[in-house]
Every structure is written in structure tokens, then in C-alpha cells.
Subunit: 506 residues, 2 copies
């Protein structure tokens, strides 16, 4: 398809498929855990890292050249820069921006009071009650894309919902992109592991959105980790050159296991994460002022017994609240948290840890939440039941955030008290009849029956109900409408690139 | 034992047994979800209920007499009173007070920035992995008292940790009190179901603490529900006459299933709970100004499918934050929330719901949290595994609340950055060596092993690990030291009262 035809492509949306799942527009106030002194101590630490400690930009002379040219101090590959200059550069990034979806009703705004939930990212294994634990493959990946598309509480498709390990590493990004673009019409991320794969993501997005739309809008984003501590490698800087240079989004996430990739202190790890991400944000703004940027933080605690990372623990819980307050002060959209757990299965441990992690993520005001559903085993495994159980809980958070407490006259229900006497009941009064159908969040997977009914129904646990639900959802799946020409062009792109690329398994 | 001997009884504490589990002294700021306008709308509604709607005091002419004498408007059994008078009476209640424990190291302060966790209360059934679901009995009850005593994250014994259904209803309070007083040395509650049972509780507490200590201190409390909507029955007013008149604590809890015992609106239900509890607080202050009082709130949402109460849902989550803000404004200690769930078993549903319920309870600043561990089936069943799993999670909340984020120089760890280079690791640096042993909360029941180790260990789920843990704890249980004379006197009191009382099973 010629560029002109592509440019003039309009919304190709059929309004079929599941109900739109717009992101959350928060009305609930934020929870500020840090006082002014703590804020200034942490920000002082960030400034000290930027100015005096420095952050290395490794294996990418072009990045160092840019820093030098713009006036930073470069010692070897260590970049140091005045904190107010870095902060001024960060201020050029939008505090909120919209990522368009193929179905514009599913476009999401990231930043400010907006909160967007996306599923788990990057797990090489999958698990479900029937198939057990196994390597992820393209079939599982596509089912996960379908489920994410169908679930109203997931606003964004993420990207590597599991690794399709049956496809060569060199090619699987093409199949993943094709699946996101054709099996779903929600927004999603692109590849970052190599510059050419990032470029494929951008090129395929251009087929979907057209170059003119893409020139003015964020339609795809890359999600990259720094190499903590204090190290930015070429995966990050090349992603910035591909995504940010085109005005597309970049999410930069220091992953810090406190005591390993950062000091064994939550405050120090949070400050380090801020410094690393802000330094990359500044770099991005040097490449293209105003390019959408999401400041990320992924902080884990550690088991003293084994040295293994732990999740849902008090240290990352408090870090979610703290980093969010710092990000708001910096005016940058935030990614943090998720429904995280070290559990191998979808048991009580998984749920406790995921809920505490996600409750704090939610209240903190994280603007983009990767891993909000499906994560098991410290991120090594995507659980099908876990995905559906987590997503069910997200609906409750959505209500807390978007509605807060309604104290309108209608909510105060004074008329109800004229109908109901002391010791009576409100079951049939006018106010109840007006509101009972919408008063409560109705989760799909929580069983509130009495024990007798529950036993008659087979004494099913939540994971068994989740299994029944996701298998049913897949049976009911209907592919969202897509312009056949767009689909053919995407397909041809994938075929061509697959021919060009060698099969590589690493 | 003569009163004089009892009065002169000193701390009879042997410092044996599990480590002291002091309550939480919060340093984390509170999370205020309501703005000034919402606060004044809710408080206006409370005032309207107090003044214009009224609250019935039923089946207790003595209570109505007192209200009349003090100047309230009494219409039938409906009591209406000027809101500022009720608020002025509530202001006489202490904003925080200490409940002494037999072991003074375990005394708890309730109110202000203090938060106290107690186990489930009132379940007729118990469940564990080996014995399944069955009626509670005295043996199970005593084991639950032992476990609560031993667990460092439970600060308070509560009272009816399960119903000992093998003991006549008319007598079981005596056995429960005896168990709390001799198998544990933590603070606990007393009976409220009948005035004579409340009196037995006070009398037995007097054996433990002596009349002189009791004249000056809270050593026992009663926990009673109002009969929502807007109804206070004689269980409440008689408990007030027994507990409050002696200067002992009273926790008054409107239990509101929105749409049944209150309007189908969280705001209206919260305001109604405030009004009901404040009216009783005012009544208590008329009986004895300064008597310790805890304002309670127990709000449940409802399943539209079945009408059954639901837990851990967004409506009670937001209500925890809202009622806490109102209680702080009223200057009254608060009881709300808990680790609540409608699940029948200790599965993921139980954990998700309990965690969201408890995370909000914790952050809200609830000063006394009954049901913080062990609750299943909407409160009908105490789970042994659930008790131990919930309690394990409470330690994380304790750390979040009491420590917040440490931003001291030592926490900022600047010296670590002189030792560790970009891309290096902090595993062996001086700062890590100084702190790694105390940096992270180490839960007993979360498994963070990799999947291979976990499978080698038998692929145990959290509930299986919890089962192993509580059975092990009971094997290691050692009864806390007690003055033999005190024990004998308690025993004699129970024996005498059991002779006097008929066996009654209702």
C-alpha cells in the first residue's frame, strides 16, 4: 500500500467486540507518604547522583557524543550533568499524553490523573490448570492477547504477555506484533531487544496508523530497563533513537533488587531509580523535545534465606507510594508496581502478594501498570488463571480510583430515612430500588454463596472458576474487525522480514 | 483471695514466652480521601440523623430515662438530640487510652497513631486442612488462643476466636475468659451477650488485675453491635452500664450491609454508622465521663446475584478510608475493617479479598482491628491456616505503618556509591553488610524459591505451609507464667458460676 493511501486511512473501527475499556480517570486524591523534608532529602540524593556520581552510557558512542555536544561532563562513559539542567530537560516531556489504539475508543491517556492497566510482560513460561507449567509458545501467546483484548479491566495489551518460545528469537517480535495488531484493537507496546526489531515495530505501526497520524501522535511505545546500578546500555539508547525520534513513547524502568542493583535501602533505591530514569528522560528530550516518556520503577525486596527476590512486601509497597510522589513532583508519567508475586501457583500467597502490591500501585497513582495481571514466579511464568483472577480484582480498583466516595444528595439518601424506621430495612425502599443494580462492583470470580450452595456447586476454588471463565472466554472470542488491506499489508511485511532474517534462538 | 491481697497484686509477669508484640505506633501519614466539602456534607448528614431522624434505644427504660433526664428529646423510644451536644459529649471520651494486659509488656494503646491487631471474632465453625469444616469447640478455641498468644503480629487476643459450641451458651463465656486469662497473657475482650456475662467478665478481670488497678485503668473491653438501622438495643446499653460504668472499654460497631441495614450507598451507610456509634458514645459519656470508647464500623457490600454480603470490595475499601477520616475529626479511636472474605476456603479469593480489605484498614489508621486474622465465610468460620497466613501478612503492614520510608543519611547510603561502580553490584559493600539482616521483612509463609527448589520441597502451597506452621507452633507452645493463687481464684470463680447457672443452649 502506498504511503499516501496509508496516510489517508481513517478510523477503521467496527464497534464490535467487548465493551470499550477506557483507562481510569482518577478522582480519588493521591496519598502522599513523604513530607517536605523527606522529599527534599530524596531529591537532593537524585541531584547528587546526577551531578557527582554520574550515570554510564555504555557501548553507544553516539549517545556519549550527544551528551558531550550538549554540554554534559563525560568521563570515560560516565555522564554527569547539572541537576537543574536535567530537570529542565525532563520538564520538556509531556506530563500526560495519549497513546492511540487501532480502535480509537480504546486509546489511553498516560500521565496526570489517568491510570492504565496492562498484563504481565516477558515470562518465558506459562501455566494453567489443565496444561500445567510449560514453555510459552505462539498459541498460548495469541490466547493471552485474545483474553487481554476481551477483558474490560485491562486497558492496554502490553507486549510479551508470554514468550512465544517456539518461534526463533530473531523473528518472534514480528508474530507478536501481528497478533496484537490483528487479534486485538487495544493499544500495545513494541519490541526493544534490538534496534532492527524496534524499527519493525515502528514500521508495522505505520501500516496500522499511517505516517501522518504517527507524526502527530503516540501510537506505540517501547519498554526498556536500565542496567542498574547507574548504567544505561545501547538497548535503551537505541530504543530512544527509534521510538523517541519518531515521537513515540518510551518507558524506562530501572529494575532494582535492593542490596544487589541498588543499596539495601528502599530510600536509596528509589532515589537511584529516579536518577537513572530522569537521566534517560533528559537524553530522550535531547533527541526530540516533547517526546512522550514514562518514568519507570521496579523495586524488589530480597529473601534473607535465599537471596531470591520477594514481592508484595512492605519495602516495595512503600516504594510505590514514594516514587509516585516524586514522579508527580517531576511532572512525569509513572510506571510502577503490578500484581506481583514470588509464588509458583495461583494460591493464597500469590493473591496476598499481588493484592498488596497492586493496592499500593493503584493508590500510588501509577499511570501505566505493566504486570497488572497474570504474573507468577517473580515474572518467569504467566498464569492463565492468574491473569483472569487479577483482572477481576482490577475492576474493584477501577471503581475506588474513578469514583472515590460519592457524597451527592442522591448518595446521602435522605428520602430513604423517611421510608425506613429504626430497626427496619432498606431492601425495598425507593432509594434502594433506584440504585441497587449499580451500587456495588460485581466481581465475576468471587463466590459469596453460603457454604451449602458452594459445596453443591462442586466446592470450586477461585482458580477453578477462573479456568472455566478463560476457557469460556476463548470460545466466545470474536476477532475485532480490521481493514483487509491493512491486514494483508501487515502480513506481507511479516513474511518479507521473516525471509530477510536468519533463524536465531538467542 | 481477699480484696486487699488482690489490690496489692503486682505485675505477675515472667518474661517468658514469645517476644512481646507491642501494638503499632504509626509514623506513616494518614490518607485523607475526603475533601473539606465532602467532610462537611457527611458530618451534616450525621448531625441530621442525630437531631432530626433520631436513634431508638429499645427495651431499656433506664436508658431512655437517662436521655430524658439529661435533656434529649425522647419520642416513644426514639432519641433526638442537638448535634453539638452529642459531639461535646463524645469529646469527653479519650482520643487514646491504654488497655493493660496481664503481662504489662503486652499492654496496648488504642487511638491516636496506635494500631492494634486482634483475630477473628464470633465464628461458630472452624476449618483446618486436616479436620475440615466443623463446629467450633473448646479444644479448638483454646488452640486458637494459644496461637494468638504466640504470634508476634497479633497484639490482642480478641475474644470469641471461635464459638466453643460444646459448652452451653450460658456458660461458655466463663471457659473462654479462663482460657484467655491463663493460656495467654495478651489483652482480650469480655462477654457482652447478657448483662450477667458482662459482669462475670468484669469480675474475672478484677481477679487478674485487682480493683485498684481497674479503678484507674482499662483492663478489659466489650465489643457490641448496634441494631442498624438506627436502633440501640439493651445488649448495648447494658454493656455500657457494666463496662463503661467501671471505666472499662466499650467498642460499639454498627454492622451495615448497604441496601439492608443502611441505604444502598457507601456515603449514607458511613454517615449512619457514625451517627449510631456517636449516639452510643454520648450515652456512655453520660454514664461515666471519660470512659474509654471505640467507634466501630463494619460495612459490607452485597452480591446482586444472591444478596449475600461480599468482602474486600471497592465499597468497603473506600469506606475504611472515609470512616477513619471522620473518626479522626471526631477525636475517637476507631475499629474498622479486617482480613475479610466471603470465601469458604483459604484460596486465592480469600487472600485477595482479605488483603484489599486489610491494606485499606491498615492505611486508614484503624486503631483496633478485630478480624485481622482467621476470618472465612463472611465470618461464619475461623480458619486455622487462614489465621496463620493472615497474621504472617500483618507483619508487613506493621513495617509499612511503623517505619514508613527512612530517609536518614544512613538510609541514603552515599558511602555505598563510593564502593560500587556503574553496572556493579551492592552485594558485598559495607552499607549492605551493615543492614542486610534487618533491611527486609522476612515473612514466614511466603515461598520465594525458584520453581525447581519448590517442586523438590513437595510443591507445597501456602496453606500447606501454614498447616505445618500452626501445628508446629502448638507443639512448641509454653503456657505463660501465672501466679498460682490467681489461677486458683479464677478457677474457683468459674466453678462457682457454672454451678449457679443453668445449662442453656441458646
Amino acid at each position: 500500500m502506498a504511503r499516501r493511501a496509508r496516510n489517508s486511512r481513517k478510523r477503521d473501527m467496527a464497534q464490535t467486540g467487548p465493551v470499550p475499556s477506557p483507562h481510569i480517570q482518577r478522582t480519588l486524591p493521591h496519598f502522599d507518604v513523604l513530607d517536605d523534608e523527606q522529599l527534599s532529602r530524596l531529591e537532593g540524593q537524585v541531584d547528587w547522583i546526577l551531578q557527582d556520581v554520574g550515570i554510564a552510557f555504555r557501548d553507544d558512542p553516539e549517545a556519549l557524543e550527544l551528551w558531550k555536544r550538549e554540554g554534559a561532563t563525560v568521563e570515560g562513559d560516565l555522564v554527569k550533568a547539572p541537576a537543574d539542567w536535567i530537570r529542565a530537560l525532563c520538564a520538556k516531556a509531556p506530563s500526560e499524553f495519549t497513546q492511540l489504539a487501532r480502535n480509537r475508543d480504546r486509546s489511553v491517556t498516560i500521565g496526570g490523573k489517568n491510570q492504565v492497566f496492562a498484563p504481565v510482560y516477558g515470562a518465558p513460561f506459562v501455566r494453567d490448570l489443565e496444561g500445567g507449567r510449560r514453555y510459552g509458545d505462539q498459541a498460548a501467546f495469541e490466547d493471552l492477547v485474545r483474553l487481554t483484548y476481551m477483558h474490560p479491566n485491562l486497558h492496554h495489551g502490553g507486549f510479551v504477555t508470554c514468550e512465544p518460545c517456539d518461534i526463533p528469537v530473531s523473528k518472534r517480535h514480528l508474530d507478536m506484533l501481528f497478533a496484537h495488531m490483528t487479534l486485538s484493537d487495544k493499544p500495545h507496546l513494541g519490541a526493544i531487544t534490538e534496534m532492527s526489531r524496534a524499527q519493525d515495530s515502528i514500521d508495522m505501526a505505520e501500516i496500522v496508523f499511517g505516517a501522518d497520524v504517527m507524526a502527530e501522535n503516540c501510537v506505540i511505545m517501547g519498554n526498556v530497563n536500565t542496567n542498574s546500578p547507574l548504567l544505561v546500555d545501547r538497548v535503551v539508547t537505541e530504543s530512544a533513537r527509534v521510538y523517541s525520534a519518531r515521537g513515540q513513547g518510551l518507558i524506562v524502568v530501572p529494575f532494582i533488587l535492593s542490596g544487589a542493583m541498588g543499596p539495601v535501602s528502599t530510600a536509596a533505591s528509589v532515589a537511584q531509580a529516579m536518577a537513572e530514569a530522569m537521566m534517560v528522560c533528559a537524553y530522550v528530550q535531547l533527541i526530540r523535545p516533547g517526546a512522550p516518556f514514562v518514568l519507570g520503577n521496579f523495586l524488589s525486596s530480597m529473601s534473607l534465606k535465599t537471596g531470591a527476590p520477594t514481592f508484595g512486601m512492605p519495602e516495595p509497597v512503600i516504594s510505590n507510594y514514594a516514587i509516585a510522589q516524586l514522579a508527580r513532583r517531576a511532572g512525569l508519567p509513572l510506571r510502577c508496581g503490578g500484581s506481583l508475586t514470588a509464588s509458583k501457583v495461583e494460591d493464597a500467597q500469590a493473591a496476598y502478594e499481588s493484592a498488596d502490591s497492586m493496592h499500593s500501585t493503584m493508590l500510588a497513582g501509577a499511570n501505566f501498570v505493566l504486570h497488572s495481571a497474570g504474573w507468577l514466579e517473580g515474572g518467569l511464568c504467566t498464569g492463565f488463571e492468574k491473569l483472569i483472577m487479577d483482572a477481576d480484582r482490577l475492576g474493584g480498583y477501577q471503581k475506588v480510583l474513578s469514583q472515590g466516595l460519592d457524597t451527592s444528595d442522591e448518595a446521602l439518601a435522605r428520602d430513604a430515612y423517611t421510608e425506613v424506621e429504626a430497626g427496619g430495612h432498606f431492601l425495598g425502599c425507593g432509594h434502594t430500588m433506584r440504585h441497587y443494580q449499580t451500587a456495588f462492583y460485581e466481581p465475576a470470580l468471587s463466590d459469596s454463596d453460603n457454604v451449602e450452595s458452594w459445596e453443591e456447586g462442586g466446592s470450586l476454588e477461585m482458580r477453578q472458576r477462573a479456568h472455566a471463565r478463560w476457557t469460556q472466554m476463548l470460545q466466545e472470542y470474536q476477532q475485532p474487525a480490521i481493514d483487509p488491506a491493512m491486514r494483508d499489508e501487515l502480513s506481507a511485511y511479516v513474511a518479507k522480514r521473516k525471509e530477510e532474517l536468519p533463524d536465531a534462538w538467542y
